[in-house]
Amino acid sequence: MPKTWRNHALLAYALAILAFLYLPLMILALYSFNESRINAVWSGFTVNWYASLFNNRRVLEALTNSLAVACISTVISTVLGTTGAMALNRYKYRFKAAINGLLYLPILIPEIVMGLSLLVLFSQTAIPLGKVSLILAHITFCVSFVVITVNSRLEGMEAELEAAAADLYATPLQTFRYVTLPLAMPGIIAGALIAFTLSIDDFVISFFVAGPNSTTLPLYIYAMVKRGISPEINALSTLMMLTTVLLIILAHLLQGSPKKASPADE
């Protein structure tokens, strides 16, 4: 049976790839429950590291910083990105394709270049490095993602719907409130979730523009690693990983449900 043989081979190959991708993460998660301080030796199951994490004042401070920066930059970039996407989608103008292309650029530019350029910008404009500079930086790289997710949602929307609303006595504001916004909402939420995830996870750009009182979780982990890898870091990383995965799954679910299906047959 060459066919089943081939199927088995394909399955094994797929599993190998998945293992390659996820084994390191799984090991990290596993060792976060290790009783021993030394990573290489398994000495028993414990959740102590998680407990000590939540008693560590500096971890909590970094967590608060991360959440504050992520929340504020998510809200601002979602509002900016959504309105931007609507403008880009609504109006016809010259060089539309080129301008849409420019939106992808911040995503493709090496982060280290982004970080460095922002650092130069902040020092030129005398903006002190701290939470404000951090939030501004996070907004810059989050906006593109929001625009792209909202835009793709709007593109799947029938153009005549807003005309239909206007024809049915809805003022422009009511059209936005009852038709455009609800239909764009899954895209907006997905965009916000992606923005939040990017902000929480960002290291490289934050490394350049954070100040002494604005250490975020990734920056704190980096500082801890310099003093050796402890199970506490494993625990913290595992929590961050879980949060990210959950947010991304949520964003994906929201994006994948456009209400545009072909009508059933008569």
Binding site: E158, A163, A164, A166, Y169, L183, K260, E266
Partner: protein, 332 residues
């Protein structure tokens, strides 16, 4: 009859391109008026200018004697049935229908009453909680009509509302829609490129081409007395003859009669032309007979009913005759 819509010198340009040159048009109250023409003739643009979805480049629009030229669509007492229905996908049938009443802030009891009426009228009661994507094209089309009618508008504007449906369903809905309009007495302005649809449903037809009104008349007039070559060709098959009187003579294929060249009983007007049959095509109720006229390259088509006394065959020699009153004369 009262004028419900009056267009005075309405025109539309996009940049240098003239879509509709200045045009006057009156739609009477309670009338089923059809704008008929090939795609790109400006009929949809004209409809959207009445709805307020396009701004005219010049001219004035009056609705029930009130000027509405500069009013936005949400302040005009007209409702539109869109070509692809444009139903709100995130609302149920009932919510879609209620939308206009909700925006106009009609009181809730009145809203309920009118929604129920319209649901019953369009036989949508059972589907009220469905979402548009859960329904067939025909059902969605009924929701689109219900969503317009529920507002008791002065005028309903319909933009090829049956275009996306299959032939059989379209024929049923044509009659349903015409009946509905007749019963309600609401003015309908209907846009289509389908001549059969226009002929069966309308009180009056405006034939348009390249932004111009080619003819304005009742369906019978448009069909039997086309005002020019374009209308004659667009509304059905036509034969054009030059009878040497300086005019073009038009005859519909069903007005042409055939007789044998030899041994004819002569109990009808004398044949104008003789020719040879090149093809006979079976069309169900009729045979289409194609005849090459003697002494010219012209081919004419005549419809012969199936129950006619004689069956015609290829290569037969025939005379072509007609009654003088069936001739339509056009200046060249």
């Amino acid at each position: 009859m009262e004028a419900m819509i009056r267009l005075e010198g309405i025109s539309k340009r996009f940049g240098d391109q003239v879509i509709i040159p200045p045009t006057d048009l009156t739609v009477n109250e309670g009338e089923f008026l059809t704008l008929l023409g090939p795609s790109g003739c400006g009929k949809t643009t004209l409809l959207r200018m009445i709805a307020g979805l396009e701004t005219p480049s010049s001219g004035k629009i009056f609705l029930a004697d009130k000027e509405v030229t500069d009013l936005p669509p949400y302040q005009r007492d007209v409702n539109m049935v869109f070509q692809h229905y444009a139903l709100f996908p995130h609302m149920t049938v009932e919510e879609n229908i209620r939308f206009g009443l909700k925006m106009k802030k009609v009181d809730l009891q009145e809203q309920d009453k009118r929604v129920e009426q319209v649901l019953a009228m369009t036989r949508l009661q059972e589907l009220r909680h469905r979402y548009p994507k859960q329904m067939s094209g025909g059902q969605q089309q009924r929701v689109a009509i219900a969503r317009a009618l529920v507002n008791n508008p002065k005028v309903v504007l319909l933009d090829e509302p049956l275009g996306a449906l299959d032939y059989q369903l379209r024929k049923n809905l044509q009659l349903e829609l015409a009946d509905l309009q007749y019963d309600l007495g609401i003015t309908f302005v209907y846009v289509t490129h389908d001549r059969e649809e226009a002929l069966t449903m309308s009180d009056r037809i405006i034939v348009m081409n390249k932004g111009l009104i080619e003819q304005d008349g009742r369906p019978g007039e448009i069909y039997h007395r086309p005002g020019n070559e374009f209308v004659a060709k667009f509304i059905g098959e036509t034969n054009f003859f030059d009878l040497g009187d300086g005019l073009t003579t038009l005859l519909r294929p069903e007005k042409l009669n055939l007789c044998p060249e030899e041994g004819d009983d002569g109990a009808h007007p004398a044949p104008h032309f003789f020719g040879t049959i090149t093809d006979v095509v079976f069309y169900g109720t009729i045979d289409k007979v194609f005849v090459d006229l003697d002494g010219s390259k012209q081919e004419v088509v005549a419809y012969q009913y199936f129950d006619d006394a004689r069956k015609w065959r290829m290569d037969e020699r025939v005379g072509i005759w007609w009654y003088p009153q069936d001739e339509v004369k056009l200046s060249k």
